[in-house]
Symmetry: C2
DNA sequence: ATTAACTATTGACAAAGTGTAAATAATAAG
DNA sequence: CTTATTATTTACACTTTGTCAATAGTTAAT
């Protein structure tokens, strides 16, 4: 079983926060994946682990990762082949960045930086409001 | 005409970045709106302006804002009434936070903070990779 | 007074994205 | 041989988003 059911707790009250419109890390996953792929070829399952372990992006379902990979391949950002030296399990599809993918990574990094500055502005505004 | 067509440029090359899966500020808009609503009642059009001017969230289409407002009302985070003292235009629907909305705001702020830390981790990792 | 521009909200439909569950399959451990 | 783990794929309903346009009141110009 893939290991995290703790997609924000359901322990409090917070009706309606488990599934709704709002900020969503699924949307952050894609750029993050390109960054990881930039280090070299990987297969989906490993990528999934890195997303959780290195970035703490909660991947609730492996399908999300495979989905995103297929999407990235669809737009030509990555390419794949079946792995030769297979290991503990069924054959693995290994992905690598294309040159278009590198361009896209560039774009997304700038975009993420802009996002961060917007996020900072939002949080700062709130902190000033409540202080 | 509502004033911003500059939803990241289409000027470069970057095939496929205008419309796709990836990070999306639309998803950031909702928590931002709650923060603005926390200051007091507002109507949609004003909210739209504040999102762009104060937070630099590019709202390409006013519909997005109204949609989000209807959604937030649907989940009980906000309530609305028609404005009494009407001004330059047709009647305006004025929204205010409910107590559920305050709870939700609390939740989203913590969530945004977590998002920021993930974002930081992602960008930091990339900067270390390329340096 | 007709037109144009701005303020303000709503509607509708196609396309894209997401949650969720499960099927498939190979290998390793017991 | 059964179970657990690794690994990828499929399917369907539901939600969200893009896009475009309709509606309508107010203000300013011709």
């Amino acid at each position: 079983m893939y290991g995290n059911n703790r997609h924000h707790g359901r322990g409090g009250g917070h009706r309606g926060q488990d599934r709704m419109m709002g900020r969503s890390l699924v949307r952050m996953m894609q750029p993050a994946m390109l960054i990881l792929l930039n280090r070299g070829p990987v297969h989906g399952y490993a990528l999934m682990d890195q997303l959780t372990e290195e970035f703490s992006i909660p991947v609730m379902n492996p399908n999300q990762v495979y989905r995103a990979l297929r999407h990235l391949e669809g737009v030509g950002a990555i390419e794949s082949d079946w792995d030769q030296d297979e290991s503990q399990g069924p054959p693995r599809r290994v992905y690598r960045l294309t040159s278009d993918g590198h361009e896209m990574l560039d774009f997304w990094v700038k975009d993420l930086e802009e996002t961060r500055s917007i996020l900072d502005r939002i949080l700062k505004a709130y902190q000033e409001d409540v202080s």
